[in-house]
Symmetry: D2
Subunit: 255 residues, 4 copies
Amino acid sequence: MSECVKTGDWVLLYHDEKHRYTVKVEEGRVYHTTHGSVNLTEVVGKRYGETVRTNIGEDLVVSRANLLDRLGSLRRFTQVIYPKDAAYIVVSANIGPGSRVVEAGTGTGFLTAILAWYVRPSGRVYTYEIRKDFYEAALENLKEVGLLPYVEAKNKDIRKGIDESDVDAVVLDMPDPWNVAEEAYNALTHGGILAVFVPTVTQLERVIVAVRKSGFKVIEPVEVNVRKYKPVPGELRPETLGVLHTGYLLTARKL
Amino acid sequence: MSECVKTGDWVLLYHDEKHRYTVKVEEGRVYHTTHGSVNLTEVVGKRYGETVRTNIGEDLVVSRANLLDRLGSLRRFTQVIYPKDAAYIVVSANIGPGSRVVEAGTGTGFLTAILAWYVRPSGRVYTYEIRKDFYEAALENLKEVGLLPYVEAKNKDIRKGIDESDVDAVVLDMPDPWNVAEEAYNALTHGGILAVFVPTVTQLERVIVAVRKSGFKVIEPVEVNVRKYKPVPGELRPETLGVLHTGYLLTARKL
Amino acid sequence: MSECVKTGDWVLLYHDEKHRYTVKVEEGRVYHTTHGSVNLTEVVGKRYGETVRTNIGEDLVVSRANLLDRLGSLRRFTQVIYPKDAAYIVVSANIGPGSRVVEAGTGTGFLTAILAWYVRPSGRVYTYEIRKDFYEAALENLKEVGLLPYVEAKNKDIRKGIDESDVDAVVLDMPDPWNVAEEAYNALTHGGILAVFVPTVTQLERVIVAVRKSGFKVIEPVEVNVRKYKPVPGELRPETLGVLHTGYLLTARKL
Amino acid sequence: MSECVKTGDWVLLYHDEKHRYTVKVEEGRVYHTTHGSVNLTEVVGKRYGETVRTNIGEDLVVSRANLLDRLGSLRRFTQVIYPKDAAYIVVSANIGPGSRVVEAGTGTGFLTAILAWYVRPSGRVYTYEIRKDFYEAALENLKEVGLLPYVEAKNKDIRKGIDESDVDAVVLDMPDPWNVAEEAYNALTHGGILAVFVPTVTQLERVIVAVRKSGFKVIEPVEVNVRKYKPVPGELRPETLGVLHTGYLLTARKL
C-alpha cells in the first residue's frame, strides 16, 4: 500500500513523456538529470506518487521502476534482444516460476535477466558465455538488478557440452546455434522446448536442418513484428519510421 | 530427472506432427485418439520419453504437457486471446512471480490462466466477469489446469468499481475498456501498467482518449504480428495463408 | 459519352457485393448466373448503368469490365501472380506505353496480359514458355481478352537464349531464374530493369548471387504485403484471415 | 538499338551503388557530382553503356534514366506519395494507355507525372490543385519531365465540382477526400474506379462512410507494405530500420 522508498529500491523519476529516469536509490548519491540534480537521500522515505524537487526547482514524480526500466538504465548492455522477441520466447518456451532454463550466449545479460525474473524464486537460469569480458559484465549487471541469485553464469563454450539435464527450456541467441542442437536435445526433459533467435534467414535455414536432424518435433520458425501507433486521437496512424526487422525465432520440442 | 508419471499429471501423448494429445492422467479412465484408445492407468509409472501402446497397437511417446498444451486441451475455450498477444501483455506489463494483477473480463479464463501461471506462487490475479456462465466455466477451467489457487474470480461488473488497490497491473480484454480507465488508474500502484486488448481501431481510438483523460502516461498502442514460416529447408518461405489480424494492444502507465 | 454496349464488349453485370459477373457480349449467347440467365442479345445497345433483367426477374446493372475483371473471368488461368506483385513489377520496372519487355515463363498468360495492357499500343511483350500446353492456353487467353496484338509468344526455353536485344525490361516468374541472369543482362538496354518473382527465400538467395555475378547493379529484393481492412465504419479493422505471403520480388538494373 | 544520346534526353550517370546522377542533357551545361563535374556537351553522341570522364578523371557510365529516376531528380517535389502506393493505385484503378483520369490535389505533380506516363499517348490526366504555388510548381515539373502534353492542370478547388464526365478513374490524395465522394461518383463512367490515399485511420473511416453513402460498391481499404531486404548472400535479412507506414489506400467502384 502506501509503502515508502527505501535504500536499494529502484525508482522511476518522471518529469514528462520524454524525460524519465530510472535509478537505484543510494543514500548520499547525487543523480543528475536534464532538469537538475536530485540528492537521492531525499527520495528515501517518500511515498510512491509523491514528488522530489531538483536543485533547479523542477518536480519529479517518484514511481516504482519495473524490470524493463531497470534493464534500460544499465549502460553496459550492448546489442540486446528486443522485448517483443523476449516476450515471445518466454511464453512460447513456457518459461515461468520454477522453470530450469539453459541459455547461450549470455552476452551482457539482458535476456538472462528477463529469464531470471520469470523463473523466480525457485527456478534457475544456467547461462553460458564464451567471452570473458561479456561474462563479467553480465555478472555485474545481474547483480545490479538483483537477479544474480536466480542465475548460474558460466564462462564456458556451450558447444563443448551442456552440464545440466532434464531442463525445461534451452534458449539460444548465438551466431551458430546449429552446433548446439544435439546437446540441447539431450539436455531437455521430454516435452521441453528449444527457442532460438537468429538475425538472418540464412542462419534460420541451417537451424531448421540441424534441429530436425537432432530429433526435434513441432518445429516452428516465426517472425514477430510489433508496429507502434502514434497515440493521437483524430490522427491515429502507425509510426512512419521504425524497426522493420530484428530476427527470426524458432521453437522446437523434444517429444 | 527420471521422474515418473503420477495420477493428476498432465501428459502429452505424441504420435506424429499432426497427432498429439494432451490429457490429465486419471486412473481407470480410457482416452480415445485417432490411433486407438489408451488406458490411462497404463501411463501411471511411465518415465517421460517412454511409450504407451494403444488398443490397436500404435505407440505414443509420453511427454510433459506445458501450460499452452493444457489450455489447448480444454474444449470450453472460445474466442480466446492469441499467445502472441498474451506474451506481449505479460512482458510489457511486467507481470511475473509475485505480481498482483486485476483482469476483466475473465471470459472462460484463458488469459486468466496464463496470468495466474506467471504470478505464481506469491502473486494473485483478481478477475472480473459480468456473465455468470462465463464466470462458472472459468472457475472450472482454472481448477482443471491447477491454477485456481492463484486466482480470485468475481462475478462482478468491473465498470462498477475495482475492489483492489496498489496493484501492479490491470489487464482489460472487454468490449468497452474506456469505461474502466479511471477505475484502473486508481487501482494501480505508482509505476503500475495498464494493458488493453481491443479488436478494432475504432475502439483503440476511444481507449486512447480515455486513458489520456484519466492521467495515464507513456501511452503505447501497438499491433503484434507473428508470421509463421514453413520449416522446409531448401524451400523456406512464410505460410501462404494465416492470421492477418487479432487486435490492437495498448499499454499505459501511472507515473 | 453515354456510349452503348456493342457485340464483343466486355461487361460487368452487378447484382450485389457477392454476385457480379464479367462476360464478353456475343449475340445469341445465353449467360447463366445464380440469379437467373441473361440473353446477351438484350445487353447489346444498353447504355452503361442501365439494367438487364434475368429470366427469373432479377435486375443486373451493366457496367464496363476492366482488365482485372476480364482476367478474373477466364477459367484457364492457374497459379497466377497476385495483382499486388504485378503492380510492383509494372511500376518498379518502369513498364508503360511503348516499353519492350521480355517475360518468362508465360504460364497461362495472366502476367503477360497485364504487361501487354500497359505497353499498348506501341510496345511489345516477348514471352517465353517451355511447356506447350501452357503456351497454347496463353495464346487463347490473350486472344480472348484482346491483347494478343501486343504480344509475341514463343514456345521456347528462355534458358537457351533471348532473341531480343536492347529491351527495356526482363520479367522472370519461373522456377530457376538464376539460370537466365546473364542472358537477361545481355538482352537489356543500358538503364533497363530486371524484375524477378520467386516464392521461397532459398530461391531469392540464389537469384541475388546470380544477378550480382552477371553485373547487375542496384539489386533490391523486397516483399510486398497488402492487408485488407473490413470496410465497416465503427468497427474498422483488418481482415482476420488472409494471404500472408505470395513471394519475393527482386529488381536490378543494367547500369 | 545502339542509339546515341541527344540533347534533351534524360540520362543516368552511374559511378557506384551510392553515387548515381539523373540529368537532362543540355549542350553547354556543366553538371556537378561528388566525383567531379561533367560537361554535358560531351555526353551528346555517346552510346548508352559508354562512359564519360569527369574533370577529376572519374568515369561515369551513361545509361537511360527512367521515369522514377527523372522524378527523383526534381528538387521541387515535396511530400510525395511512395512508388509502392502509386503502383497499387495505377494497377488497382486500372489506369493505363488511353485512360481518362481525374486527380486531386496535384501537389507538385509527382503522382500526376506517374499517372500521365501511364495514360500516354491517348489518355489524359485532369488534375485539380487549390494552392497556386503548388499548381505552378507542378506545371514546371511536368514540363521538365516531358509529360505536360498528357495533363490538363487546373488551379481549382475540386470540392466545388468536377468538370469532366465519364472518366475511367478518380484519384484523390487530399486532406478531406470525403467531401469529393459524390462529385467523384458522378464524374465516373459505369465500372469506373475511385482510388483514395489518406495517412490516418481516422480519415479512412470517414472516407468509408462517405463513399458508401455516395453509392460506391466493392469498397476495399488496404495497406500496402513493402519490406526491403539486404541483398547479401549468406546474410540475407530484411533491412533493420525503414518505413513502417505511409498511408491507407481505398478503392471503390461505380457499378
